[in-house]
Amino acid sequence: MRLSLRRTPAIAKAAPGFGSRSLVARLIALASIWSLLLLAAIGIALTAFFHHAATSRFNYDLTVLANDLYAGAGVDAGGQITAPSLGGDFRRAYSGAYWQIADLPKGGRPIAIARSRSLWDQVLNVAPPTLAMLQAKPGQLFYYDTLGPAQDGREPLRASALLAFLPGHAAPVLFVAAQNRAALDRDVRRFGWATAAAMAILGVGLVGVVFIQVRVGLNPLFAMGREIAEVRKGRAQRLTRPYPSELAPLANELNALLDHNQEVVERQRTHVGNLAHALKTPISVLLTEAVRTPGPLSEMVTRQAETMRHQVEHHLRRARAAARSQGSGERTPVAEVLDEIVRTLERIFRAREVMIDWEAGEDLLFLGERQDLQELAGNVLENACKFCRSRVRAEAEPLSATRWRLTVEDDGPGLPPDQRLAMLKRGERLDENAPGSGLGLSIVDELARAYGGSLTLSESRFGGLRVDLELPRAET
């Protein structure tokens, strides 16, 4: 049986597909499509309405003109039709304002009797369908679009026509008044552009507001994602933020799951521990008994019991390390742990009168379990106590907001550089290393790595070995 060190699993990315598209993109797209369609419809309706209103106003002016023309026209003593004298633009050639009085023989084309000076030598055309309508309903005004004489006969005009009878004149007379509608068209066009621009700005604004709304609205969801990441990295133990009522059940379920996980790991840890510890007393008995009755059998039993003892030690450590990489987010005061480890070690090494001089800020916190800091500091300091002459010095100091360092120095013989390297290499190969590898520093190295920390060996200023242990620090 071999326990493998549990590593932080890589996050499995959700496969992209229809169902997994961004929620934000979906919400924004839906809201955007709806508001853009609505805005386009409003723009088109507004433009149409404006067009209608402006044309009505234009038609009204034309009606006045046509009525003036009709009211001002008369028949003289000779039976000739007399035109009213309309001034202004009607006198100026190609001015854009025209009138014309014409005879309309049955089934024929109108024959101009009188026309404004502005028409010069041209006539105002009336299209055959309009003529038919005029003849069908005499006395009623009709409006139509046509072309005028200016701009080489391409002048856009709007005209009103009326077929009416004049007293003293047998045949009906056709009155036509027309005006250049370029200004009207331009106004309608301008209004259309202005409306489109306004709607576009409104559209962009709306999409922006929708975007902000979605982001702000979904913010608790993103916050939850970040908090879960913190838990995974071991910086937090569970979700603690207050979540809106829709997310709170999810957060509670997640917490329950985390607790359950923790419990399972704890239980495994306890089981492995119990098994290993339960084996220790029988091994002790075997070893003692074998020593008491020498012989080939006892030699074999001793050898096997020693192997079992190493295996038990090894797997206990592996089990501890496996549970450790979960990251519990616990905060442990460094000074407290150093104090208890130091007084314990001084008792253990009382016969040699070892004195450990230590220093640590009262507010320095280790981000990890107390038991682990006890193992780390305990093994490093025990190693120093074993090899020192009489003094050991330990200093704990913060390196940054997230790291701190424990430096342990002794005044013993120290280790030559090549052996230091060998010791660290042994730490690196700990996975395939045989159990029970002498110095406690290899356990420390493994444990420090599980915490994302490091162990370095160098020479102490007191002549012995200097061990630097870098570990994660919790905020005060």
């Binding site: 007393t281 091994i283 002790s284 020593v291 008491r292 104090d339 009382r350 001089d357």
Partner: protein, 226 residues
């Protein structure tokens, strides 16, 4: 020499009883915590071998009760779990040495011999200052019978202050007494140690005399220094 062996495993206890008897000790045996506590409180032993994982009352609790009751014999604890948390708990409860199972019997006998030799060695009288009591023989101190958990430097500091209680002691004097010459330390660090010691024995027992040093005094209402 009389030794109390407390161990619940029948095979191991049989072996240990035999080994201890072979080494010339008179051995009493207790298979559980309750009996161990009773024997330890009533019989005068020269040393105790105490397993921590015991039925009825666990070893650490037994040891704590012994020490509270003034039992002074050196205690060697046997533990299956080599974790530091357990060692700390054991020594804080008043253990003098420990052995992690499985162990060789010779190792146990050697440790036991060393413990008894040390206990017999110094015969210094206990020091007292009010409710504060320091026993140089066991290198232990207590307030109102409650054991203090001191590091070696703190213990030395307290020991020196108690030997000179009532007198103002300068920082330089303390530094000279606490450190060897080759261990160069700033006299300001004494403040740190005094601070730690005050946290453990109560803030008012050590008086700071500005510009001069420190003085250890009994609290008001306690018996004056002898």
């Amino acid at each position: 020499m009389r030794v109390l062996l407390v161990e619940d495993d029948p095979d191991l206890s049989r072996q240990l009883k035999q080994a201890l008897a072979d080494a010339g000790y008179a051995v009493d045996y207790a298979p559980d915590g309750e009996e161990a506590q009773f024997l330890g409180e009533t019989e005068p032993y020269d040393a105790v071998v105490l397993d921590l994982g015991l039925p009825k009352t666990d070893g650490v609790t037994v040891l704590e009760r012994w020490r509270k009751g003034g039992m002074a014999a050196p205690v060697l604890i046997l533990t299956a779990r080599g974790a530091w948390s357990e060692k700390v708990a054991g020594f804080d409860a008043g253990a003098d040495d420990y052995l992690t199972k499985p162990f060789h019997t010779e190792e146990l006998l050697a440790r036991l011999r060393a413990l008894m030799r040390r206990a017999a060695g110094h015969a210094q009288a206990a020091l007292e200052c009010g409710a504060l009591r320091l026993d140089p023989r066991a290198a232990r101190a207590a307030v109102d019978g409650e054991p203090l958990r001191l590091t070696s430097l703190e213990y030395r500091l307290l020991h020196y202050l108690m030997m000179h209680q009532g007198r103002v002691i300068s920082r330089t004097e303390l530094v000279e007494h606490l450190y060897d010459q080759d261990f160069d330390r700033d006299s300001n660090t004494i403040e740190v140690f005094v601070g730690r010691l005050r946290k453990k024995i109560g803030p008012d027992r050590i008086e700071t005399v500005r510009g001069l040093g420190y003085r250890l005094l009994p609290l008001a209402g306690e018996a004056p220094a002898v």
